[in-house]
């Protein structure tokens, strides 16, 4: 009842604020309650969901895997943040994944996942996601659901307009939010104008193994680059970035970067960029950035520091970039499934601006420019405008499409999703969000062929929607059924971290490729063993290497003597199991690190530096079998001066 009254109250307030809001929201709420929403999200025990949703964790730095329509959480894939549960960033194998030009960084802010595409359709091979704070792009392999590559982006700061793929995954594209001095140097912040620059980065993706390479960057004026989306179909070969702070302010941004009536959407012709590169128009410039690759065969990551990047200057190279005036600090920059319409979600406006790709090309052809910004031509607003969704709500942020001719836009301030018709620009339906929705996601939404069944709204505020948990309450997502004429709210579900954005795909495309085990015979880890006969302990100075195996339900060896205080003891643990869903874990008392969680056929390593004489136990941390509790062992630690030789055993009395 309280909810309902809140609802009506907010409805009335909105009705007062926006003329097109006819106060029909109250009826819809009743409609949702009166429907069979529960049935629509119920996935019976043992049944599978229709869709995978890869939901970013925002400030958690990770990527969560949910099922839709049930909203059930399957896995939190560690990406940019250490995860003690899975030893990500703790074990010796994955520490290099979090290396950067600034050294090891245990955290980042993960924002925009995007699924790889072939011919403009999501293919379910990889998910890419950006780290915002220390600019990085990660690739998650959907055969293992693990992060297998992270590349740092130089000349970038606040890697926000990322990571979106072109229609054949030629590139995963990243843009800088902050403009900074390029190259970095010691200058006054007051010298921002003209000295600070932005870059847009094009990272190629190898069609076979997915290997990423920072192919080139485009040097841009010192704006803030907010979001981006690729052209598709006819506009394939172009990439569109929204900008704000075209004022080039550097302080009290909330006021000073909100002064211009229009900012820009930057249209980047990346095919043209490729031509310029062929002609040798790019310039190699020094840059320092880490490229970290995890090898599934060695089960280890290596980090390589790169020292240069190919730069194209948009101010010097004509026909590379055009600027499309777009009202009011556009946030989301979204392209419809046909590739014709580019939506600028002007977050300080009540209207949605839609540009036409065809009109843009015509204006360029006719050279109808209004002026330029640092040599980059500015087209006229009227020349490129396709239409305006008038007074649709307050604070438009993001738009996705259902592939049936409709756009769905989130409005942060008026806290709702609004459905509108592409071409006629009329508002068809609206549904409230609880509360203050940011991104929304339709599975396959950033492609030529969205699966237009559901929309997932990701909210910034939950307040009273769940049982309270002190001052910090859960974040949440909301699922709407969009198969009918009216959107229908089906489900609220809590999320890990901030559900910033998500990417979705039909489950059958992905699940058939999901690996069950790692093959032991393919394990190329330098400290791997393939059978229990190969277990051993070796010493090299004060380094002790234990080649240990796990199989139900014992460690081999499980009694080790001859370790001394001051030794650095490496536990290289190979899980000899070759059965689905039989991981083993291991943890050592007093080890200054996390447990290991080792999948069948995998080898992982943790380091223990014993500081006290005694006999210290270790045990299996994953309930592996009926004799899990017996899966344990001892290491004897002798004084540093001891002359006890290394010995190891299993089952000897």
């Amino acid at each position: 009842m309280r909810k309902l009254s809140y609802f009506i109250l907010s409805g009335l307030l909105l009705a007062g604020m926006i003329s097109c809001n006819n106060g029909s929201k109250g009826d819809k709420k009743k409609g949702a309650l009166g429907s069979n929403a529960a049935e629509k999200v119920y996935v019976a025990p043992g049944e599978y969901d229709e869709y995978y949703a890869f939901v970013s964790g925002g400030f958690s730095g990770q990527l969560s895997v949910y099922g839709l329509p049930s909203g059930r959480l399957f896995k939190v894939i560690p990406v940019f943040s250490q995860d003690a549960e899975k030893a990500w960033g703790y074990n010796e194998e994955t520490k290099p994944m979090l290396n950067t030009s600034h050294g090891f960084i245990p955290w980042d802010d993960s924002h925009h996942p995007d699924i790889s595409q072939t011919n403009g359709v999501v293919d379910g091979r990889w998910v890419f996601i950006n780290g915002n704070n220390t600019p990085r792009i990660a690739k998650i392999d959907l055969t293992t659901f693990e992060t297998t590559e992270i590349i740092e982006i130089p000349n970038s700061a606040g890697n926000h307009s990322s990571s979106f793929v072109t229609e054949n995954t030629e590139y995963v594209v990243a843009g800088t939010r902050f403009s900074v001095p390029i190259p970095q140097r010691d200058i006054s912040i007051k010298e921002y104008k003209g000295n600070f620059k932005g870059t847009l980065s094009f990272i190629s993706v190898d069609p076979e193994d997915g290997g990423m390479d920072l192919k080139f960057q485009i040097m841009m004026p010192g704006f803030d680059y907010d979001l981006a989306h690729p052209g598709r179909g006819a506009s394939h070969g172009w990439f569109f970035f929204s900008t704000y702070n075209t004022e080039e302010a550097s302080t009290l941004m909330e006021v000073n970067s909100s002064q211009n009536d229009k900012d820009f959407i930057a249209a980047v012709n990346w095919k043209k960029a490729e031509e310029y590169i062929k002609q040798g128009k790019g310039k190699m410039m020094p840059a320092k950035y880490a490229h970290n690759v995890y090898d599934e065969k060695t089960h280890m990551a290596t980090s390589t520091m790169k020292d240069q990047v190919l730069m194209l200057d948009a101010s010097e190279l004509p026909e590379l970039v055009y600027l499309l005036p777009t009202p009011k600090s556009p946030h989301g920059c979204d392209v419809d499934p046909t590739g014709e319409y580019i939506v600028g979600n002007g977050k300080l406006s009540a209207n949605l601006t839609v540009h036409s790709f065809t009109k843009m090309l015509a204006a360029i052809e006719a050279e109808k420019f209004e002026g330029d910004a640092y040599g980059i031509p500015i087209l006229s607003f009227e020349d490129v405008l396709a239409g305006v969704v008038e007074q649709a709500g307050l604070g438009p942020l993001h738009t996705e499409f259902d592939g049936k001719g409709n756009g769905y836009t989130t409005f942060f301030i008026s806290s709702e999703v609004v459905k509108w018709k592409v071409g006629t620009w009329e508002v068809i339906d609206r549904a409230p969000c609880y509360y203050s929705v940011g991104h929304l996601m339709i599975p396959g939404g950033n492609s030529r062929e969205p699966f237009g069944d559901y929309v997932l709204a990701m909210n910034k505020i939950t307040k009273d929607r769940y049982l309270p948990t002190g001052p910090e309450v859960t974040q949440s997502a909301q699922l709407y059924d969009i198969r009918g004429d009216k959107m229908e709210l089906l489900l609220d579900f809590p999320t890990v971290g901030e559900p910033h954005y998500a990417a979705g795909i039909r489950a059958d495309i992905v699940m058939k490729n999901s690996k069950k085990i790692f093959k032991l015979e393919e394990n190329e880890h330098p400290y791997a063993i393939t059978n229990e006969g190969e277990t051993k302990v070796t010493r090299n100075g004060n380094e002790v290497h234990i080649y240990m195996s796990t199989i139900r339900s014992h460690f081999n060896p499980d009694n080790i003597e001859g370790v001394k205080v001051g030794d650095k003891v490496y536990f290289h643990v190979t899980n000899l199991e070759q059965d689905y869903d039989v991981p083993h874990g291991i943890s050592m008392i007093g080890a200054n690190t996390s447990e290991l969680l080792i999948m069948p056929g995998q080898t992982e390593t943790f380091v223990w530096e014993p500081k006290q004489v005694g006999v210290w136990p270790f045990y299996c941390t994953d309930f592996c079998s009926a004799l899990h509790q017996e899966m344990q062992g001892y290491v004897r630690v002798s004084p540093a001066s001891s002359s006890i030789e290394l010995s190891w055993s299993l089952g000897e009395d």
Binding site: E577, Q578, D579, A626, L627
Partner: protein
Amino acid sequence: MKKSNWVMILGSILILGLFLFPLWNIRLEAPQYPIPLGMDIYINDFADEHPHDIKNINLMNHYVGMKYIPETIPEFKIFPTVIIVMFVLGLLIGIKGNYKWFMTWFIVMIVLAAAGIYDFYLWESDYGHDLDPKAIMKFTNPDGSIMGFQPPLFGSKDILNFRAHSYPQLGAYFLALGIAASFVAYILGRKEQRKT
């Protein structure tokens, strides 16, 4: 050549199917194994029905003290030799012999097949009953005797949390068809003899 001779030749060729297809399959089902564990028994090999099944059967069975399924057994040398010899003999009889020889071959094959099945039973019985005295888990029957874990020779049976199935496979059907063909050859041969 008479029709009966052709049938006899066909019968002896059919038994070579044993070299192409498994003879028998033992499969273990349990709730934790939505894809059951299975072992295909060939005339010369134990093979995984799905990758790593035998390793995982061994891992399961070690809890109750059962021995690992061996990589190889003497039968894997004896059985193929016997089949090759019987094939050659069958072929020779088919070309040269008459219906009386067909009957002899048929009887010898029946005896050999029975011996094979008995041998299989002995192995199964040993596998199911010769348990490690230090077994992790020991189970007793209601009468106090030590519980065995012998899979059924033919058919299905519950063994603790598993349901075990033991059934002939394509190789066995080829063998049966081959043996049946020699009997048909005998009947045909006898009829042909009477006509002449």
